[in-house]
Symmetry: C2
Subunit: 149 residues, 2 copies
């Protein structure tokens, strides 16, 4: 039966997109209800072939996700690429980057034209972000930290 595998993988796709399946063993049990009996080992192989990945919310397709980097807004990209450390100091925020990363990161922040940012000063591996007051600094910090994830 050549179509056995194809059929099974079709079912897997269907199951996985419709409900939350969080382990291969759970998937195995669901398939058994459809009268498909296979081992976890086979499912491990199937999932790889189908490019389904395990997430906190169950298995999901990963068809097209090569370079998310190229599709991100500039600041998000810069933060992901350069921001190594971030520390608050009153109304200031000190950002650390790898050598040479400060200028591009500062430029990206400037580019956002956030009203909370009074200005930035970039050295080689450090950016100083100046906010009018602590409250503003906290907000900037929050936004940057959100971008990291």
């Amino acid at each position: 039966m050549r179509t056995q595998k194809t059929y099974r993988q079709g079912q897997i796709l269907k199951l996985v997109t419709n409900e939350r399946v969080t382990s291969q063993d759970e998937l195995r049990r669901r398939l058994r209800q459809l009268n498909l009996r296979v081992t976890q080992a086979t499912l491990s192989r199937d999932l790889r072939e189908l490019k389904l990945v395990k997430t906190a919310e169950g298995y999901k397709p990963l068809s097209a996700v090569p370079e998310e980097t190229t599709s991100l807004p500039p600041l998000a990209r810069a933060v992901r690429e350069f921001l190594l450390d971030l520390r608050p100091a009153q109304n200031l925020l000190v950002l650390k980057t790898p050598p040479g990363g400060a200028q591009p990161l500062a430029a990206a922040i400037d580019g956002e034209r956030w009203k909370e940012v009074a200005g930035t000063i970039a050295g080689d591996d450090t950016v100083l972000v100046i906010a009018p007051h602590r409250r503003a600094r906290a907000e900037i910090q929050r936004r940057l930290e959100d971008l990291i994830r």
Copy 2:
């Protein structure tokens, strides 16, 4: 040190997008070279927070991959949604679907206007695809099977 975690996750992002990291333990060793010492357990938590998933090619971001379904060409979507089984018979191809799935699947195939397809007939849960000859049938079969993955 509140920024410890943030810093580490920044490094993880950087590492993972630049090189191929295939296990948490490997990631742990790479981080150690940067003088970041944490256990695999912590990395497991970090990866989840960063929404990085394990793929055959290493860890990858899963930020934007909610509904691939909506962005797929119609046939690919229909195949994924409805095609349960596929069996060749000379110059014919018999496709099985869940009840009611045959019409939409057949419509999607028709929509492709493949020259190898002489025509289709759709019942309730079965589609018959008619090809001019075996060779053409094989080609259609191949394309459909490719779409499954």
